[in-house]
């Protein structure tokens, strides 16, 4: 082994093919559609990805995958982000399907997975509830057994993409007497089942997410993923897969590249070339460093996963660093545009990107585990500090 920061020729070639694919399929029309609906999903892109087999790039070939390693998955995610591909629904579906291939039933492997790979089944996540966000194991949505079925009642919030998905990967409580991590069970619930209600929630940055209600929803036991009361094991795998292929530096890199181009060609608030302003230079230099560090931390996470070691700490550090620095960079990028930076109707691409990042970067520090959760993971598991969360 030897430290090596170069991309292998095979991966360079893979990157070129992926880039070409996204350039072809993420059209202006696709992007306009996302802006109009606030939902980061494109049926045509999903279908095209299904045809290439990249939907299941990392899977074993027996499930229709391509055996891509985590570094290639990172390349795929990086290129998708650079192309502004609306593929959140697709990656989420791929991750849950991957969990099913490992911990699901034969029925699910036979009935669900192939349809997910074909782009027909889209799965969203149903973990968060109004009263349980970061404390995910405090979920109260209940599932009780009735013959071969389960009856589910409760509500979930931030069920993003439920409005375009076919199924929700739903975390429920099946034992109210057990310790809180030990009474949870996961189901794959069809969103067209009677009793499911999807209501929109709009975010300040123009996205749509959802609140989902479950009113005595009947689900067959065949749709249970993993053992009863053992959701924690399934969740651990789902969260690990989420870390492995996450690419938080991608959007940050796009903000930096756009801002640098703008600064070299434009004028600041005082009418002078922006690039002559020492403050602009220092801010861009800082942004450049942060983007490079974020990129390296993401690739280190993928590299660790490729070695077959769960990249828990690496993933937490990469997410925490990328998203927090992205927030700062978005603020500074808006500052550089001066008073016009506060306007949202600008035609200037760099101002649009900065304004997008202003709202979106904040979201990235929250979803997929807030910065506070990441810090607690790092403090407890890397620095060996005592439990910083449970006050019971």
């Amino acid at each position: 082994m030897l430290m090596d920061f170069a991309e292998s020729p095979a991966n360079q070639e893979f990157r070129a093919r992926v880039r070409e694919f996204f350039a072809q399929h993420v059209t202006d029309e696709v992007k306009a559609d996302v802006r109009r609906t606030g939902t980061t999903h494109s049926a045509s892109l999903a279908a095209a990805l299904a045809r290439t087999g990249w939907l299941a790039a990392s899977w074993p070939e027996e499930y229709g995958g391509r055996n891509a390693d985590p570094l290639q998955l990172m390349i795929l995610a990086e290129e998708a982000t650079l192309a502004e591909a609306p593929w959140g629904s697709i990656t989420m579906t791929a991750k849950v399907s991957r969990v099913i291939t490992q911990l699901g039933s034969d029925f699910q492997r036979r009935e669900i997975v192939p349809r997910a790979l074909a782009g027909e089944v889209l799965i969203c996540l149903g973990y968060t509830e109004p009263e349980s966000g970061s404390d995910i194991a405090a979920a109260r949505t209940s599932a009780r057994r009735e013959g071969d079925d389960w009856i589910i009642s409760g509500q979930k919030v931030f069920t993003s993409l439920a409005n375009v998905s076919t199924h929700v990967f739903l975390l429920t409580r099946t034992d109210t007497t057990a310790e809180k991590h030990r009474g949870l069970t996961l189901f794959l619930v069809p969103l067209d089942a009677p009793g499911v209600k999807i209501l929109p929630i709009y975010t300040f940055d123009g996205h749509r997410t959802n609140i989902t209600h479950y009113d005595d929803v009947r689900v067959s036991d065949e749709m249970r993923v993993g053992d009863v009361n053992r959701a924690w094991k399934v969740l651990a795998l789902a969260l690990a897969l989420e870390r492995e292929a996450a690419c938080p530096h991608g959007e940050f890199g796009r903000l930096y590249a756009t801002t640098l181009r703008w600064a070299r060609a434009s004028h600041g608030d005082d009418g002078r070339p922006a690039w002559e302003d020492p403050a602009v230079k220092e801010r861009l230099a800082r942004m450049a460093i942060d983007v490079e560090v974020a990129r390296l931390l993401d690739y280190r996470t993928a590299w660790k996963a490729k070695r077959g070691e769960p990249p828990i700490i690496e993933g937490s550090m990469a997410k925490l660093f990328s998203t927090e620095r992205y927030v700062t960079a978005a603020q500074r990028a808006m500052d550089m545009h001066g008073a016009a930076g506060a306007c949202v109707d600008s035609g200037e691409p760099a101002a649009i990107e900065a304004e997008h990042a202003f709202g979106h970067s904040v979201v990235t520090t929250i979803y997929g585990g807030t910065s506070e959760i990441q810090r607690s993971i790092i403090a407890e598991q890397f620095l060996g500090l005592p439990n910083t969360r449970s006050k019971s």
Partner: protein
Amino acid sequence: MDFSPTDDQVELMSMLDDLLAKTSTPARVREVEADGFDPALWAQLASLDLISMAVPAAAGGLDGDLLTAALAAVQLGRWVAAVPYCDAVAAARLLALIPGDPSPGDGVPDWLDRATSGRSVVTLHPRPVPDPSQPALIASGACADAVIALVGTELVGTELVLVPLRPEMVRRRASVHGAPAADCDLTGERVTLGRDEQAIARFEQAVDEWRVLTAAALTGIGARGIEIGAAYAKARHQFGALIGSFQAIAHPLADAATTMSGATVLWQEAAWAADHEPDRFAQLAAMAFLFAAEAAETATATALHAHGGYGVMAEYDIQLYFRRAKGVRLQLGDPSAGYRRLAGLLA
């Protein structure tokens, strides 16, 4: 991509850690602080070929790369060792590039041999000296037998020189981090190592290597500082609980550890680029130094603060790290100027 060191590199780091745990104890660091230099440790490093490690075999070195030397710098940072290792390795690698002087005596080959054998301390002064008629503030000036500097300006002509330092040329300066700093008179006898464009090119390459080595040392200082802070937070009780269980203590330490981790992969990439991606080397070296310097400053300040009042007591070790991180950061001048310089290097 691969982030793993070789077995030899792992062994080197472990050997050095064992050695420094015995020879660069906090007590020893305090003992030599007035001089800013530990001659016994320097002799030991030389005898282990650590100064010549990254010098080409053709020039009498061990042919190691910049990355391996930087890994040694990490360990020296972890033990806040009082030796100008980064300045000396950068100087030795620079000397090794200069074609041999045909006449024996105080020429380049002799100085290279003295430097790598540890008989003399030869260091690089990483900031240009536009006006050599004025004394130059050199961080290693009080312990160096000779210093390499870039003197002059483009207008009057620049010259890369090796200046042997005699006691009367050196006026000791006291520094925040106990460095062997001194104002040095560079007007005396000198060995010319290059003129004008060639001088600038050689100097810039050497300073970029210094940036990477120093970034590595700073990650050692910062990472050890965080460990000291975390160890305190795991032992100190307040309000009936270990203070490490409070997020107000734990989270800033987690942030610092994250940033330090980022600083580490960044200097590693820069060191790798020295050999494999020379076009990106200057940019990455600049990034590595700026980022590690800020990260180490923040990390040691965070770790010190976690100690409460004990953090400012001279007998607690964390203050050694807090002061060292700051002083090393300033060796290249005002950090803001460094960021503006980097902007000019962005692709």
